[in-house]
Symmetry: D2
Subunit: 139 residues, 4 copies
């Protein structure tokens, strides 16, 4: 099975820095989403692409481990790694690296499920996602 990893660079905004002069911890959730959406654009799995297949993918679990601080003007990079699962879930692992300091800034994981447009939880892997796995993991 191929390993799917995408890296994307982020500019820290002035408004993302808190009164302790560091990026407010809640903004890492946005950075994870930036990484996930950047991954999705490359690998046909963006939020809108999945939506056009008839599904939304709400996050059901999110975890973030903070390793070192990020300051304004630091250049950061988000590595988003697809974690395959036999369940009807979409799992990503994240690593945020602070390229200005060279340090690992955070790691994390998100777990998403598939919801039909009627809001029903999809218990088995949707056919479009089976095809996606065929294309991207086995191809």
């Amino acid at each position: 099975m191929k390993e799917l990893i995408h890296k994307t660079s982020i500019s820290v905004r002035f408004s993302e820095v808190d009164s302790l002069q560091i990026v407010w911890h809640g903004n890492y959730v946005k950075y994870f989403e930036d990484g996930r959406e950047a991954f999705g654009k490359i690998h046909d799995l963006g939020y809108l692409q999945v939506y056009r297949q008839g599904f939304s993918m709400p996050i059901v679990n999110l975890e973030c481990n903070y390793k070192s601080i990020i300051k304004y003007e630091d250049e950061i990079e988000i590595e988003t790694r697809y974690v395959d699962s036999p369940a009807a879930k979409l799992i990503f692992d994240y690593r945020i690296t602070n390229n200005t300091t060279g340090q690992l800034a955070a790691t994390g994981r998100s777990v998403q499920v598939f919801l039909t447009k009627d809001g029903e939880l999809q218990l088995t892997i949707p056919p479009f996602f089976e095809k996606w796995k065929q294309k991207w993991l086995k191809g």
Copy 2:
């Protein structure tokens, strides 16, 4: 014509304060919206209430004048005043007072138009809003 004014109190969040230890200027736009929605709840003009009448009310003009700073733990109050207009517009004036310092923190104005659910600009005052004026301004 009656004057319609609503006052609402706001707690400043830690995440709303920037690296200069003051509320980031962009968050005043949220406070204005808090004031507008609090006004709307009391006066039947909330975003969802208008939406159920078949309209959305996008903001077309926003202005904010910053008068004094707001810090974390300051208690602030937003005064939202309805400004009547013969045009198919919804206009509000805002005054944010910092009750901790007793100073005026900001003034501002927002102008909204009416958009049908098809996204068409409504050039005349919608009937539901004429009724609203009858009820609240002349009653």
Copy 3:
């Protein structure tokens, strides 16, 4: 040992709702912070109070489990529960309840450490926090 729990109510802002008509998942991190700060105000453990003791308390681990959706105009309540630890850590468990639907909306946990104003990690429990434990847990 006494159990320390604080409950606080939150109004969902229009700007916190995403294009799927539900509160964007990242905003739950703000709600947790609202709960933590509300707890802190009652129990002398607010961000500024700790800062005046010479410490900041950066979050090193955050977890959120999403159980049901929150919509605009839903009334939500955050329960923040202090979790005692023998380590130099500050741990809180959270439960967000959607009072409009009566459903549990999310659970979560945050872990904070103590950092001196020089940015050094405090490896033992700071004296002010030992006193705090004496006062609030044994009293």
Copy 4:
């Protein structure tokens, strides 16, 4: 006098889109700041660069005129234009263009003043800014 204009591209985040499927109006303030900071990086006038000269530059007036909507996945560009003033003020005009639709999305203006690190309003143009004008406008 030379005209100073900087253009920068922005990716719209999923979390910046509201329940009407369009970018929430308050986020335009962030986009203006993105433009201003991108201008500052190129022209030695970034927030941190000015701070190192002994000044902060709080915004005292902000205006935004919304012209057309921005959707998720739209590519937008912010044009930031320096507006010279004889007063001790820093003025920028903004134009946000939606490159996906080809339409003007918004125009706006921000006015900033100079504050010393003691929080005093600087009534005359600070020497560092006179030098800046010499370098960038007359050079």
